[in-house]
Amino acid sequence: MARDQLFASLRAARAVVVDDITQLVGNTPLVRLHRIERECPGVELWAKCEFANPGGSVKDRAALWILRDALARGAIRPGMRLIDSTSGNTGIAYAMVGAALGVPVTLVMPENVTAPRKQVTTAYGVEIIYSSPLEGSDGAIVLARELVAARPDLYYYPDQYSNPMNPGAHYESTAPEIWAQTGGRVTHFVTGIGTSGTVVGTSRRLHEYSRSIRCVAIQPDDALHGLEGMKHLPSSLVPAIYDEGVLDDTMWMPTDEGWDMSDRLAQEEGLFVGHSSGANVAGALRIARGLARAGERGVVVTILCDRGDRYFVPLQWEKHYIW
């Protein structure tokens, strides 16, 4: 199908009419990064706008797949609550999907997740239980497991770090979309690891379309980092869904490089995105630059996980923090 025809048909698809908000999950736009691309002539740089999901992040896909599967299997019975540990975006996604599908939600998150994430989840009516800000997301995982062990009758625990529906969502939706949206021309897929669901599920399916597509994961380069949502596996509990075998390579990203790219994306492309998105594009650009230097062409695709307005902006007049 000619490029212009493809784009015309995709634009029309945005004005859809649906029965509930969960039907707006997925089928996100793919945007070309023409200005960032000036650093890698001959190579195309594309970013998938996962912030366009109705809950505002890529996690909508995992949350929907997880909840739909749990309801279909009868794992969530009347009177039960969904509980999980989440650095924020999954919580917001569960909150939205839970509200839309009628499932009450309890979230365990570290006290030092950004304020916007706490406010958004409570707007959907969730119950939040806070874990130690010194223990990070691993602390939230441990606390969630303790709560579930104490009340197995009350809680359904989907465990996003172990649930195959998490990478399954990307295997079934994200990967086919990327394949179709690039007309089968994608040569490289690169994205960060949080739970690893996106990179594992998408890579697994992309390799089935074409084994020559290079799939690269990005991790923060240090245990102490500022790339919210991403995981430094060497110092963390490794998610059960992580499958290093589907990856062709791993890249280590300094926080500053990711943050700086988030700033560039807003200023040069009009994309106000979060820090993990900045890290993803910084990683994609490293790969694209390498191809350009070698005189090779390529179609490099990455993920814009969420918008920048979910991130920490210390307000000058806030002397005392309310966690």
């Binding site: 800000p133 010194l134 691993d138 939230a140 980092h225 000058q316 923090y321």
Partner: protein, 90 residues
């Protein structure tokens, strides 16, 4: 003496301890004494020019030193100084 609360990613410098008690009249002095007790820890918290890294927060009691006098913020006896990553991680 102040009690410094150490986040998980930095506990490899403190032999696994969650808190370290050090002296210091300002945050700067506390970090210098912390470095003496736990070599290598300060360069994770501060960059080459000695400033606090962008993604690390330091609290004296419950106040962010960025809203006080930065590294010159005064630390009183028995104060809790908390080193908290700006984010919770994945």
């Amino acid at each position: 003496m102040a009690t410094v609360h150490i986040p998980t990613p930095l506990r490899k410098y403190t032999h696994g301890k969650e808190t370290v008690v050090v002296s210091g009249a300002t945050v700067s002095e506390v970090l210098a004494n912390l470095e003496a007790a736990c070599p290598g820890i300060r360069e994770r918290i501060c960059d080459d020019s000695g400033k606090l890294r962008r993604f690390v927060n330091v609290f004296v009691a419950d106040e962010d030193i960025r809203h006080l006098e930065q590294l010159e913020t005064k630390v009183h006896d028995n104060d809790a100084v908390s080193i908290i990553p700006a984010i919770a991680g994945g």
